[in-house]
Amino acid sequence: MLIINCPYCGPRDQCEFTNGGEAHVTRPKNPENISDQMWAEYVFFRSNPKGIYYERWVHSHGCKKWFNSVRDTSTDEIIKVYKIIDKKPLPKEFKNKIKTPSGEPKVGSGNFTVKK
Protein backbone atom coordinates (compact mmCIF):
# COMPACT_ATOMS: atom_id res chain seq x y z
CA MET A 1 0.00 0.00 0.00
CA LEU A 2 1.42 3.37 -0.99
CA ILE A 3 1.49 6.41 1.26
CA ILE A 4 0.09 9.40 -0.61
CA ASN A 5 0.74 12.92 0.69
CA CYS A 6 -2.67 14.59 0.18
CA PRO A 7 -1.98 18.34 -0.38
CA TYR A 8 -4.73 19.16 2.17
CA CYS A 9 -4.62 16.33 4.76
CA GLY A 10 -0.96 15.23 4.71
CA PRO A 11 0.39 11.68 4.24
CA ARG A 12 -2.32 9.02 4.29
CA ASP A 13 -2.58 5.30 3.47
CA GLN A 14 -3.47 4.57 -0.15
CA CYS A 15 -6.75 2.85 0.85
CA GLU A 16 -8.23 6.34 1.41
CA PHE A 17 -7.66 7.33 -2.21
CA THR A 18 -9.10 6.46 -5.60
CA ASN A 19 -6.99 6.76 -8.73
CA GLY A 20 -8.24 9.17 -11.41
CA GLY A 21 -6.15 8.00 -14.38
CA GLU A 22 -3.95 10.29 -16.45
CA ALA A 23 -3.71 13.97 -15.47
CA HIS A 24 -3.73 17.09 -17.66
CA VAL A 25 -6.23 15.65 -20.14
CA THR A 26 -8.36 18.74 -20.71
CA ARG A 27 -11.84 18.43 -22.19
CA PRO A 28 -11.92 19.90 -25.73
CA LYS A 29 -13.43 23.39 -25.70
CA ASN A 30 -16.22 23.22 -28.32
CA PRO A 31 -16.52 19.52 -29.05
CA GLU A 32 -18.93 19.68 -32.03
CA ASN A 33 -16.30 20.92 -34.45
CA ILE A 34 -13.54 18.41 -33.69
CA SER A 35 -13.12 15.10 -35.54
CA ASP A 36 -14.38 11.76 -34.23
CA GLN A 37 -10.72 10.71 -33.93
CA MET A 38 -9.84 13.71 -31.73
CA TRP A 39 -12.95 13.14 -29.57
CA ALA A 40 -12.11 9.41 -29.22
CA GLU A 41 -8.59 10.44 -28.14
CA TYR A 42 -10.18 12.47 -25.28
CA VAL A 43 -12.74 9.87 -24.22
CA PHE A 44 -10.85 6.57 -24.57
CA PHE A 45 -7.12 7.06 -25.15
CA ARG A 46 -4.86 7.65 -22.15
CA SER A 47 -1.09 7.32 -22.10
CA ASN A 48 0.18 4.23 -20.30
CA PRO A 49 3.92 4.81 -19.83
CA LYS A 50 6.32 2.60 -17.91
CA GLY A 51 8.20 5.19 -15.86
CA ILE A 52 7.28 8.81 -15.24
CA TYR A 53 3.47 9.19 -15.28
CA TYR A 54 1.29 12.22 -14.53
CA GLU A 55 -1.85 10.99 -12.81
CA ARG A 56 -4.82 12.15 -10.75
CA TRP A 57 -5.94 11.00 -7.33
CA VAL A 58 -9.02 11.86 -5.27
CA HIS A 59 -8.99 11.60 -1.47
CA SER A 60 -12.31 9.76 -1.83
CA HIS A 61 -12.45 8.57 1.83
CA GLY A 62 -10.90 11.74 3.22
CA CYS A 63 -11.36 15.41 2.29
CA LYS A 64 -12.94 14.33 -1.08
CA LYS A 65 -10.54 16.63 -2.98
CA TRP A 66 -8.84 15.84 -6.30
CA PHE A 67 -5.11 16.44 -6.86
CA ASN A 68 -2.33 15.40 -9.25
CA SER A 69 0.85 13.39 -8.76
CA VAL A 70 3.93 12.32 -10.69
CA ARG A 71 4.67 8.61 -10.13
CA ASP A 72 7.19 6.17 -11.58
CA THR A 73 5.01 3.22 -12.69
CA SER A 74 8.05 0.92 -12.95
CA THR A 75 8.66 1.10 -9.18
CA ASP A 76 5.45 2.83 -7.86
CA GLU A 77 7.50 5.62 -6.25
CA ILE A 78 5.42 8.81 -5.95
CA ILE A 79 7.87 11.60 -6.79
CA LYS A 80 5.68 14.71 -6.53
CA VAL A 81 2.17 15.66 -5.46
CA TYR A 82 0.59 18.97 -6.56
CA LYS A 83 -2.80 20.64 -6.69
CA ILE A 84 -5.13 20.57 -9.70
CA ILE A 85 -4.66 24.29 -10.27
CA ASP A 86 -0.83 24.13 -10.05
CA LYS A 87 1.23 24.23 -13.26
CA LYS A 88 2.23 20.89 -14.78
CA PRO A 89 5.82 20.07 -13.70
CA LEU A 90 8.17 19.76 -16.70
CA PRO A 91 9.10 16.20 -17.73
CA LYS A 92 12.78 17.05 -17.61
CA GLU A 93 12.58 17.47 -13.83
CA PHE A 94 12.22 13.68 -13.53
CA LYS A 95 14.42 10.76 -14.62
CA ASN A 96 13.18 7.28 -15.60
CA LYS A 97 14.72 4.36 -13.73
CA ILE A 98 14.57 2.20 -16.83
CA LYS A 99 16.90 2.51 -19.83
CA THR A 100 14.56 1.16 -22.54
CA PRO A 101 10.77 1.70 -22.98
CA SER A 102 9.81 -1.67 -21.49
CA GLY A 103 13.03 -2.27 -19.54
CA GLU A 104 13.23 -3.31 -15.89
CA PRO A 105 14.34 -1.07 -13.02
CA LYS A 106 17.30 -2.28 -10.90
CA VAL A 107 14.95 -3.15 -8.07
CA GLY A 108 14.66 -6.53 -6.36
CA SER A 109 12.19 -9.38 -6.18
CA GLY A 110 10.54 -9.80 -9.51
CA ASN A 111 12.27 -8.20 -12.29
CA PHE A 112 15.89 -8.02 -11.21
CA THR A 113 16.50 -9.87 -7.96
CA VAL A 114 20.25 -10.30 -8.17
CA LYS A 115 23.04 -7.86 -9.00
CA LYS A 116 24.83 -9.30 -12.03
Binding site: M1, R46, N48, T100, P101, S102
Partner: protein, 416 residues
Amino acid sequence: MKRKYSIFSILKNAISGHENWQKMWRSPEPKKSYDAVIIGGGGHGLGTAYYLAKEHGLTNIAVIEKGWLGGGNTGRNTTIIRSNYLWDESAGLYEHSLKLWETLTQELNYNVMFSQRGVMNLAHNEHDIKEIKRRVSANTLNGIDSKWVSKEEIQKIVPIMNTDNLRYPVLGASFQPRGGVARHDTVAWGFAMRADEMGVDIIQNCEAHKILIENGKTIGVETSKGIIKSKKIGIVASGHTSILAETAGIRLPLQSKPLQALVSEPIKPVINTVVMSNAIHAYVSQSDKGELVIGAGTDGYNSFTQRGGFDVIEDTIRAMVELYPCFGKMKMLRQWGGIVDICPDASPIISKCDIEGLYFNCGWGTGGFKATPGSANVFAHTVAKDEPHAINAAFNLDRFVTGKLVDEHGAAAVAH
Protein backbone atom coordinates in the same frame (compact mmCIF):
# COMPACT_ATOMS: atom_id res chain seq x y z
CA MET B 1 6.23 -33.90 -35.36
CA LYS B 2 9.71 -34.94 -34.26
CA ARG B 3 9.32 -35.40 -30.51
CA LYS B 4 6.70 -38.02 -29.74
CA TYR B 5 5.63 -38.09 -26.10
CA SER B 6 3.78 -41.00 -24.53
CA ILE B 7 4.12 -43.51 -21.71
CA PHE B 8 6.35 -45.54 -24.02
CA SER B 9 8.72 -42.61 -24.63
CA ILE B 10 8.97 -42.27 -20.86
CA LEU B 11 9.66 -46.00 -20.39
CA LYS B 12 12.39 -45.88 -23.04
CA ASN B 13 14.04 -42.86 -21.40
CA ALA B 14 13.63 -44.20 -17.86
CA ILE B 15 15.78 -47.20 -18.72
CA SER B 16 18.58 -44.93 -19.97
CA GLY B 17 18.31 -42.69 -16.87
CA HIS B 18 16.57 -39.89 -18.73
CA GLU B 19 19.86 -38.90 -20.38
CA ASN B 20 18.70 -38.42 -23.95
CA TRP B 21 15.54 -36.29 -23.76
CA GLN B 22 15.75 -33.71 -26.59
CA LYS B 23 15.73 -29.94 -26.08
CA MET B 24 12.18 -28.60 -26.54
CA TRP B 25 13.35 -25.43 -28.28
CA ARG B 26 16.66 -24.21 -29.62
CA SER B 27 16.91 -20.63 -28.16
CA PRO B 28 18.96 -19.46 -31.19
CA GLU B 29 20.47 -15.98 -31.75
CA PRO B 30 18.28 -13.83 -34.04
CA LYS B 31 18.83 -13.87 -37.82
CA LYS B 32 19.14 -10.56 -39.71
CA SER B 33 15.60 -10.76 -41.12
CA TYR B 34 12.43 -12.80 -41.06
CA ASP B 35 9.11 -12.88 -42.92
CA ALA B 36 7.33 -12.03 -39.66
CA VAL B 37 8.38 -11.17 -36.09
CA ILE B 38 6.07 -11.75 -33.10
CA ILE B 39 6.97 -9.58 -30.08
CA GLY B 40 5.95 -11.34 -26.85
CA GLY B 41 6.72 -14.96 -25.92
CA GLY B 42 3.59 -15.73 -23.89
CA GLY B 43 0.85 -18.20 -24.75
CA HIS B 44 -0.76 -15.87 -27.30
CA GLY B 45 2.57 -15.00 -28.98
CA LEU B 46 3.90 -18.57 -29.19
CA GLY B 47 0.47 -19.79 -30.32
CA THR B 48 0.42 -17.18 -33.09
CA ALA B 49 3.82 -18.40 -34.31
CA TYR B 50 2.57 -22.02 -34.17
CA TYR B 51 -0.54 -21.30 -36.27
CA LEU B 52 1.43 -19.03 -38.69
CA ALA B 53 3.74 -21.97 -39.37
CA LYS B 54 1.10 -24.73 -39.29
CA GLU B 55 -1.89 -23.11 -41.07
CA HIS B 56 -0.23 -20.41 -43.13
CA GLY B 57 3.13 -22.00 -43.97
CA LEU B 58 5.11 -19.02 -42.63
CA THR B 59 8.07 -20.76 -40.97
CA ASN B 60 10.81 -18.15 -41.49
CA ILE B 61 9.46 -16.23 -38.48
CA ALA B 62 10.72 -15.35 -35.00
CA VAL B 63 9.18 -14.87 -31.57
CA ILE B 64 11.19 -12.44 -29.44
CA GLU B 65 10.67 -12.36 -25.66
CA LYS B 66 12.36 -9.89 -23.35
CA GLY B 67 12.32 -12.32 -20.38
CA TRP B 68 11.73 -16.09 -20.41
CA LEU B 69 9.00 -18.02 -22.31
CA GLY B 70 5.60 -17.83 -20.63
CA GLY B 71 7.06 -15.55 -17.94
CA GLY B 72 4.45 -12.80 -18.27
CA ASN B 73 0.73 -13.14 -17.66
CA THR B 74 0.72 -16.70 -19.09
CA GLY B 75 2.62 -17.80 -16.00
CA ARG B 76 0.65 -15.70 -13.52
CA ASN B 77 -3.07 -16.25 -14.17
CA THR B 78 -5.69 -18.39 -12.44
CA THR B 79 -6.02 -20.62 -15.57
CA ILE B 80 -9.83 -20.31 -15.89
CA ILE B 81 -11.36 -21.20 -19.28
CA ARG B 82 -14.95 -20.42 -20.29
CA SER B 83 -16.88 -18.96 -23.24
CA ASN B 84 -20.11 -17.74 -21.59
CA TYR B 85 -19.61 -14.13 -22.75
CA LEU B 86 -22.55 -11.80 -23.36
CA TRP B 87 -22.13 -10.26 -26.83
CA ASP B 88 -22.22 -12.38 -29.98
CA GLU B 89 -18.77 -11.14 -31.07
CA SER B 90 -17.16 -12.15 -27.76
CA ALA B 91 -19.09 -15.44 -27.63
CA GLY B 92 -17.79 -16.22 -31.13
CA LEU B 93 -14.18 -15.51 -30.16
CA TYR B 94 -14.12 -17.35 -26.81
CA GLU B 95 -16.12 -20.34 -28.15
CA HIS B 96 -13.64 -20.61 -31.03
CA SER B 97 -10.93 -20.77 -28.42
CA LEU B 98 -12.78 -23.29 -26.24
CA LYS B 99 -13.18 -25.63 -29.22
CA LEU B 100 -9.42 -25.40 -29.88
CA TRP B 101 -8.71 -26.09 -26.16
CA GLU B 102 -10.71 -29.34 -26.44
CA THR B 103 -8.19 -30.85 -28.89
CA LEU B 104 -5.03 -28.90 -27.96
CA THR B 105 -3.39 -31.73 -25.97
CA GLN B 106 -3.69 -34.10 -28.90
CA GLU B 107 -2.71 -31.40 -31.46
CA LEU B 108 0.48 -30.52 -29.57
CA ASN B 109 1.04 -34.07 -28.23
CA TYR B 110 1.82 -32.30 -24.97
CA ASN B 111 -0.59 -32.54 -22.05
CA VAL B 112 -2.02 -29.06 -21.36
CA MET B 113 -4.24 -30.80 -18.78
CA PHE B 114 -7.42 -29.01 -19.96
CA SER B 115 -9.94 -30.23 -17.39
CA GLN B 116 -13.57 -29.37 -18.19
CA ARG B 117 -14.94 -29.19 -14.66
CA GLY B 118 -17.46 -26.43 -15.32
CA VAL B 119 -17.42 -22.73 -14.42
CA MET B 120 -20.05 -21.20 -12.16
CA ASN B 121 -20.90 -17.45 -11.86
CA LEU B 122 -22.80 -16.74 -8.64
CA ALA B 123 -25.72 -14.31 -8.24
CA HIS B 124 -25.93 -12.55 -4.88
CA ASN B 125 -28.83 -10.12 -5.50
CA GLU B 126 -31.77 -9.52 -7.80
CA HIS B 127 -29.65 -7.41 -10.10
CA ASP B 128 -27.12 -10.24 -10.48
CA ILE B 129 -29.95 -12.68 -11.27
CA LYS B 130 -31.28 -10.48 -14.09
CA GLU B 131 -27.78 -9.96 -15.54
CA ILE B 132 -26.88 -13.68 -15.36
CA LYS B 133 -30.21 -14.90 -16.81
CA ARG B 134 -29.70 -12.55 -19.77
CA ARG B 135 -26.18 -13.91 -20.27
CA VAL B 136 -27.40 -17.54 -20.07
CA SER B 137 -30.12 -16.83 -22.64
CA ALA B 138 -27.61 -15.14 -25.01
CA ASN B 139 -25.17 -18.04 -24.55
CA THR B 140 -27.87 -20.64 -25.27
CA LEU B 141 -28.95 -18.87 -28.46
CA ASN B 142 -25.29 -18.62 -29.53
CA GLY B 143 -25.02 -22.41 -29.11
CA ILE B 144 -22.90 -22.19 -25.97
CA ASP B 145 -23.56 -24.71 -23.16
CA SER B 146 -24.60 -22.37 -20.38
CA LYS B 147 -27.49 -22.90 -17.98
CA TRP B 148 -29.06 -21.35 -14.89
CA VAL B 149 -28.64 -23.50 -11.77
CA SER B 150 -30.67 -23.09 -8.61
CA LYS B 151 -29.22 -22.89 -5.11
CA GLU B 152 -29.99 -26.57 -4.51
CA GLU B 153 -28.10 -27.61 -7.66
CA ILE B 154 -25.17 -25.41 -6.60
CA GLN B 155 -24.97 -27.20 -3.27
CA LYS B 156 -24.79 -30.55 -5.08
CA ILE B 157 -21.91 -29.35 -7.30
CA VAL B 158 -20.08 -27.44 -4.52
CA PRO B 159 -21.07 -29.05 -1.18
CA ILE B 160 -18.66 -26.85 0.84
CA MET B 161 -20.40 -23.62 -0.23
CA ASN B 162 -22.37 -21.72 2.45
CA THR B 163 -25.19 -20.30 0.33
CA ASP B 164 -27.56 -18.87 2.95
CA ASN B 165 -25.88 -17.76 6.17
CA LEU B 166 -23.89 -14.90 4.62
CA ARG B 167 -24.29 -11.16 4.07
CA TYR B 168 -25.21 -11.52 0.36
CA PRO B 169 -26.80 -15.00 0.11
CA VAL B 170 -26.27 -17.02 -3.06
CA LEU B 171 -29.52 -16.92 -5.05
CA GLY B 172 -28.45 -19.03 -8.02
CA ALA B 173 -25.75 -19.09 -10.71
CA SER B 174 -24.92 -19.66 -14.33
CA PHE B 175 -23.00 -22.88 -15.06
CA GLN B 176 -20.98 -23.77 -18.17
CA PRO B 177 -20.09 -27.49 -17.98
CA ARG B 178 -17.51 -27.27 -20.82
CA GLY B 179 -15.59 -24.53 -18.99
CA GLY B 180 -12.72 -25.43 -16.66
CA VAL B 181 -9.01 -24.95 -16.09
CA ALA B 182 -5.72 -25.91 -17.74
CA ARG B 183 -2.03 -25.98 -16.82
CA HIS B 184 -0.74 -22.60 -18.03
CA ASP B 185 2.96 -23.43 -18.33
CA THR B 186 2.51 -26.49 -20.53
CA VAL B 187 0.40 -24.43 -23.01
CA ALA B 188 3.31 -22.04 -23.59
CA TRP B 189 5.90 -24.84 -23.64
CA GLY B 190 3.75 -26.98 -25.99
CA PHE B 191 3.25 -24.18 -28.49
CA ALA B 192 6.95 -23.23 -28.26
CA MET B 193 8.12 -26.78 -28.85
CA ARG B 194 5.93 -27.44 -31.90
CA ALA B 195 6.61 -23.97 -33.40
CA ASP B 196 10.34 -24.53 -32.91
CA GLU B 197 10.06 -27.88 -34.66
CA MET B 198 8.55 -26.15 -37.73
CA GLY B 199 11.54 -23.79 -37.89
CA VAL B 200 10.28 -20.84 -35.85
CA ASP B 201 13.17 -19.09 -34.02
CA ILE B 202 12.19 -18.49 -30.37
CA ILE B 203 14.61 -15.92 -28.96
CA GLN B 204 14.54 -15.26 -25.19
CA ASN B 205 16.10 -12.33 -23.33
CA CYS B 206 15.63 -10.24 -26.48
CA GLU B 207 13.82 -7.02 -25.60
CA ALA B 208 12.14 -4.97 -28.36
CA HIS B 209 13.15 -1.30 -28.09
CA LYS B 210 11.67 0.39 -31.16
CA ILE B 211 9.49 -0.51 -34.14
CA LEU B 212 11.21 0.74 -37.32
CA ILE B 213 8.91 2.39 -39.83
CA GLU B 214 9.61 3.69 -43.32
CA ASN B 215 6.98 5.69 -45.19
CA GLY B 216 4.06 4.07 -43.45
CA LYS B 217 5.39 0.50 -43.57
CA THR B 218 7.14 -1.61 -40.93
CA ILE B 219 10.70 -2.58 -41.87
CA GLY B 220 11.85 -4.21 -38.65
CA VAL B 221 12.41 -3.89 -34.93
CA GLU B 222 15.38 -2.65 -32.93
CA THR B 223 16.08 -5.08 -30.08
CA SER B 224 18.63 -5.67 -27.31
CA LYS B 225 20.20 -8.18 -29.75
CA GLY B 226 20.45 -5.79 -32.67
CA ILE B 227 18.10 -4.87 -35.50
CA ILE B 228 15.84 -7.57 -36.94
CA LYS B 229 14.30 -6.75 -40.30
CA SER B 230 10.74 -7.85 -41.08
CA LYS B 231 7.80 -6.56 -43.11
CA LYS B 232 5.27 -8.03 -40.72
CA ILE B 233 5.37 -7.38 -36.97
CA GLY B 234 2.77 -8.68 -34.49
CA ILE B 235 2.88 -7.16 -31.00
CA VAL B 236 1.46 -9.53 -28.35
CA ALA B 237 3.13 -8.07 -25.25
CA SER B 238 0.05 -7.68 -22.94
CA GLY B 239 0.86 -4.94 -20.40
CA HIS B 240 3.80 -3.59 -22.45
CA THR B 241 1.97 -3.50 -25.83
CA SER B 242 0.99 0.18 -25.64
CA ILE B 243 4.59 1.13 -24.82
CA LEU B 244 5.89 -0.60 -27.96
CA ALA B 245 3.00 0.88 -29.99
CA GLU B 246 4.09 4.38 -28.89
CA THR B 247 7.55 3.74 -30.40
CA ALA B 248 5.71 3.31 -33.75
CA GLY B 249 3.63 6.43 -33.12
CA ILE B 250 0.42 4.43 -32.54
CA ARG B 251 -1.70 5.25 -29.46
CA LEU B 252 -3.67 2.39 -27.89
CA PRO B 253 -6.50 2.88 -25.35
CA LEU B 254 -4.86 0.42 -22.90
CA GLN B 255 -4.20 0.93 -19.20
CA SER B 256 -1.83 -1.54 -17.49
CA LYS B 257 -2.91 -2.42 -13.96
CA PRO B 258 -1.82 -4.99 -11.35
CA LEU B 259 -4.03 -8.09 -11.08
CA GLN B 260 -3.33 -10.23 -8.06
CA ALA B 261 -3.85 -13.90 -7.35
CA LEU B 262 -2.84 -16.33 -4.63
CA VAL B 263 -2.63 -20.05 -3.90
CA SER B 264 -3.33 -21.86 -0.66
CA GLU B 265 -1.38 -24.78 0.78
CA PRO B 266 -2.11 -28.05 -1.04
CA ILE B 267 -4.90 -30.21 0.44
CA LYS B 268 -6.90 -33.21 -0.76
CA PRO B 269 -9.67 -32.34 -3.28
CA VAL B 270 -12.38 -30.18 -1.72
CA ILE B 271 -13.80 -28.23 -4.70
CA ASN B 272 -13.98 -29.73 -8.18
CA THR B 273 -15.39 -26.88 -10.25
CA VAL B 274 -14.53 -23.21 -10.86
CA VAL B 275 -16.66 -20.72 -8.90
CA MET B 276 -16.65 -17.00 -9.80
CA SER B 277 -18.49 -14.21 -8.01
CA ASN B 278 -18.55 -10.64 -9.34
CA ALA B 279 -20.47 -9.07 -6.45
CA ILE B 280 -17.75 -10.05 -3.96
CA HIS B 281 -15.14 -10.21 -6.76
CA ALA B 282 -13.42 -13.40 -5.82
CA TYR B 283 -12.99 -16.59 -7.84
CA VAL B 284 -11.59 -20.01 -6.89
CA SER B 285 -10.62 -23.39 -8.34
CA GLN B 286 -8.44 -26.23 -7.00
CA SER B 287 -5.40 -27.29 -9.04
CA ASP B 288 -4.45 -30.93 -9.58
CA LYS B 289 -1.62 -30.41 -7.07
CA GLY B 290 -4.29 -29.63 -4.44
CA GLU B 291 -3.73 -25.86 -4.11
CA LEU B 292 -6.74 -23.53 -4.06
CA VAL B 293 -6.06 -21.01 -6.85
CA ILE B 294 -7.84 -17.75 -5.90
CA GLY B 295 -8.07 -14.63 -8.05
CA ALA B 296 -8.80 -11.10 -6.87
CA GLY B 297 -9.85 -7.89 -8.62
CA THR B 298 -7.43 -5.42 -10.18
CA ASP B 299 -5.76 -2.66 -8.18
CA GLY B 300 -7.17 0.68 -9.26
CA TYR B 301 -3.95 2.34 -10.49
CA ASN B 302 -1.48 1.84 -13.37
CA SER B 303 1.63 -0.13 -12.43
CA PHE B 304 4.26 -2.40 -14.00
CA THR B 305 5.64 -3.70 -10.71
CA GLN B 306 3.83 -7.09 -10.93
CA ARG B 307 2.52 -6.65 -7.39
CA GLY B 308 -0.44 -4.93 -5.74
CA GLY B 309 -1.84 -3.87 -2.42
CA PHE B 310 -2.55 -6.23 0.50
CA ASP B 311 -6.06 -4.72 0.88
CA VAL B 312 -7.12 -6.38 -2.40
CA ILE B 313 -6.05 -9.76 -1.01
CA GLU B 314 -7.89 -9.00 2.24
CA ASP B 315 -11.12 -8.17 0.40
CA THR B 316 -11.00 -11.46 -1.52
CA ILE B 317 -10.09 -13.65 1.46
CA ARG B 318 -12.73 -12.19 3.78
CA ALA B 319 -15.34 -13.05 1.13
CA MET B 320 -13.87 -16.55 0.71
CA VAL B 321 -13.95 -17.54 4.40
CA GLU B 322 -17.62 -16.52 4.53
CA LEU B 323 -18.58 -18.29 1.29
CA TYR B 324 -16.56 -21.45 2.13
CA PRO B 325 -16.41 -21.96 5.93
CA CYS B 326 -13.91 -24.84 5.57
CA PHE B 327 -11.39 -22.32 4.19
CA GLY B 328 -11.22 -20.80 7.68
CA LYS B 329 -8.39 -23.12 8.72
CA MET B 330 -6.56 -22.88 5.35
CA LYS B 331 -3.41 -20.84 4.85
CA MET B 332 -2.20 -18.64 1.94
CA LEU B 333 1.00 -20.14 0.51
CA ARG B 334 1.97 -17.56 -2.09
CA GLN B 335 0.63 -14.24 -3.43
CA TRP B 336 1.72 -12.56 -6.68
CA GLY B 337 0.60 -10.11 -9.39
CA GLY B 338 0.64 -9.72 -13.14
CA ILE B 339 0.25 -6.68 -15.40
CA VAL B 340 -3.08 -6.75 -17.25
CA ASP B 341 -3.77 -4.39 -20.18
CA ILE B 342 -7.35 -3.19 -19.81
CA CYS B 343 -9.45 -1.78 -22.68
CA PRO B 344 -12.21 0.80 -22.05
CA ASP B 345 -14.84 -1.78 -23.13
CA ALA B 346 -13.15 -4.79 -21.43
CA SER B 347 -12.74 -6.48 -24.83
CA PRO B 348 -9.48 -7.27 -26.63
CA ILE B 349 -7.88 -5.57 -29.66
CA ILE B 350 -6.90 -8.04 -32.43
CA SER B 351 -6.37 -5.64 -35.26
CA LYS B 352 -4.35 -4.04 -38.03
CA CYS B 353 -3.55 -0.33 -37.74
CA ASP B 354 -2.66 2.61 -39.96
CA ILE B 355 0.92 1.34 -40.39
CA GLU B 356 1.14 -1.42 -42.98
CA GLY B 357 2.49 -4.67 -41.60
CA LEU B 358 1.98 -3.76 -37.93
CA TYR B 359 -0.59 -5.80 -36.03
CA PHE B 360 -1.76 -5.79 -32.39
CA ASN B 361 -3.18 -8.58 -30.20
CA CYS B 362 -3.74 -7.11 -26.75
CA GLY B 363 -6.31 -5.61 -24.35
CA TRP B 364 -7.18 -9.01 -22.84
CA GLY B 365 -7.38 -7.45 -19.35
CA THR B 366 -8.25 -10.02 -16.72
CA GLY B 367 -9.49 -12.72 -19.15
CA GLY B 368 -6.64 -13.51 -21.61
CA PHE B 369 -5.71 -17.10 -20.69
CA LYS B 370 -9.03 -18.61 -21.81
CA ALA B 371 -8.55 -17.05 -25.25
CA THR B 372 -4.96 -18.30 -25.81
CA PRO B 373 -5.46 -20.78 -28.70
CA GLY B 374 -8.41 -18.89 -30.25
CA SER B 375 -6.66 -15.49 -30.14
CA ALA B 376 -3.44 -17.00 -31.54
CA ASN B 377 -5.40 -18.72 -34.31
CA VAL B 378 -7.27 -15.63 -35.54
CA PHE B 379 -4.26 -13.34 -35.03
CA ALA B 380 -2.11 -15.66 -37.18
CA HIS B 381 -4.80 -15.32 -39.87
CA THR B 382 -4.77 -11.50 -39.49
CA VAL B 383 -0.96 -11.31 -39.75
CA ALA B 384 -0.68 -13.84 -42.60
CA LYS B 385 -3.56 -12.54 -44.69
CA ASP B 386 -3.24 -8.84 -43.71
CA GLU B 387 -7.01 -9.10 -43.15
CA PRO B 388 -8.81 -9.85 -39.88
CA HIS B 389 -10.58 -13.22 -39.61
CA ALA B 390 -14.42 -12.92 -39.40
CA ILE B 391 -14.20 -13.86 -35.69
CA ASN B 392 -11.93 -10.96 -34.72
CA ALA B 393 -13.24 -8.36 -37.18
CA ALA B 394 -15.26 -6.60 -34.44
CA PHE B 395 -12.18 -6.25 -32.19
CA ASN B 396 -10.53 -3.62 -34.38
CA LEU B 397 -8.73 -0.52 -33.15
CA ASP B 398 -11.05 2.04 -34.76
CA ARG B 399 -14.12 0.83 -32.85
CA PHE B 400 -13.19 3.50 -30.28
CA VAL B 401 -13.58 6.15 -32.98
CA THR B 402 -16.82 4.81 -34.51
CA GLY B 403 -18.26 3.97 -31.08
CA LYS B 404 -19.05 0.34 -32.03
CA LEU B 405 -17.71 -1.01 -28.73
CA VAL B 406 -18.15 -4.57 -27.46
CA ASP B 407 -18.86 -3.70 -23.85
CA GLU B 408 -18.22 -6.76 -21.74
CA HIS B 409 -18.38 -4.96 -18.36
CA GLY B 410 -21.64 -6.88 -17.85
CA ALA B 411 -24.83 -4.90 -17.38
CA ALA B 412 -22.85 -1.90 -16.09
CA ALA B 413 -23.55 -3.29 -12.58
CA VAL B 414 -25.66 -0.28 -11.57
CA ALA B 415 -28.33 -1.41 -9.14
CA HIS B 416 -31.79 0.15 -9.55
